[in-house]
Symmetry: C2
Subunit: 192 residues, 2 copies
DNA sequence: TATAATAGCTAATAAGATTAGCTAAATAAT
DNA sequence: ATTATTTAGCTAATCTTATTAGCTATTATA
């Protein structure tokens, strides 16, 4: 009784399940049940089993985020573009907590593959920063700082790791302002 | 043939194993073998099984980091103290990659426990920031921003996620400078 | 219409976590 | 010292999940 599945449908289903139940709670059995098949049948789509599925989930997540960010940034420049980038990133993580876990998780096992996956997102950030007239090295530093902050903030926030009642929106704005001021200072000629 | 184990020894062994083989590759079987016992015997020390062991590993890691940071910060103030804090954090993660995975990993499952664990480290940071005469809210924002940056940077760095040849030390210094400048601006009276 | 490929299935294997119940060593109580 | 109790180990057995092998019906192709 062929259900008519394919990689794409399975990955999307796994992504939804990750967001609902948490990435760590995805098993081939429960995923298969959800899809109306038995778990060994998943190997017809992912011969590499769970490991391959997780990898695909990671790639899917980064491409997804990539698309969201690209849409958000189009037509904006400079600070507006950076802010749109960061807000979209943060929003994505809050809305796709489980998928984001997959995006980071796999990172821990296959750097090379992960590097490829993040290339899209990172290169959008590079393009956004082109408008500021920074040196290549300054751009690299800024991209890395932004990535670090966004990943750290989103991870901590989405897991309830910030235990203070002060508004998280305010903190996010505060941090962006700090970073954007830093970029402005670089332009001001005080380039180190 | 009582080996004479206790929680502390087991946790330290697990921490070393995590750093050597990676957190995800710790199994009760291999840990037990390493310790010279059989895996069911571990339940005499951790009735909650792997889950409890992981939780203890997380707590151990945060206390460990806490101690290192406290030592590093003693006798320093203001920027020197912040810089010492950040360098110690980063160094710790590079030297204890596997343990740090545990510290973050558990985070994903037991927020309340994790909150308690990080209290020590976070409160040191708060004390360091006391010297700047910021408002409580500004301090909270700054602590959160630093935590986010440090966690994100260290995670990405330790997993080889930064694929550019530009010096990571330079990026780290660049980012600290940016954040410290931000703090300086707050003191300058331009408090928002 | 015959053939091949595909996507599903069931049954079986293997690895790991966990539980139950046993035993010897260490410790505490008489 | 001797007895009683706790403790820390063990083996055997169970459960869950991933994975492999081999079968079958449907779909697509020649």
């Amino acid at each position: 009784m062929k259900v008519g599945l394919n990689k794409q449908k399975i990955i999307e289903s796994a992504a939804n399940m990750a967001d609902e139940k948490g990435f760590a709670n995805i098993t081939l059995k429960v995923l298969a049940t959800e899809l109306g098949i038995k778990s060994p049948s998943l190997y017809k789509h992912f011969s590499g089993g769970l490991d391959e599925l997780n990898k695909e989930l990671m790639l899917y997540g980064w491409h997804y985020l990539d698309g969201e960010i690209t849409k958000a940034v189009i037509g904006k420049s400079k600070d507006d573009a950076v802010i749109a980038f960061c807000y979209t990133y943060r929003k994505f993580v809050l809305e796709h907590k489980g998928l984001f876990e997959a995006m980071q998780w796999y990172n821990m096992y296959l750097s090379e593959e992960h590097l490829q996956a993040t290339v899209g997102t990172v290169s959008v950030l590079f393009q956004v920063l082109d408008a500021y007239g920074l040196t290549e090295e300054q751009k690299v530093h800024t991209v890395r700082m932004l990535r670090a902050f966004l990943q750290g903030f989103s991870t901590i926030e989405s897991h309830g790791g910030y235990g203070n009642p002060v508004s998280l929106n305010d903190t996010f704005d505060f941090a962006l302002k700090t970073i954007l001021n830093g970029i402005a200072d670089l332009q001001g000629g005080t380039a180190q």
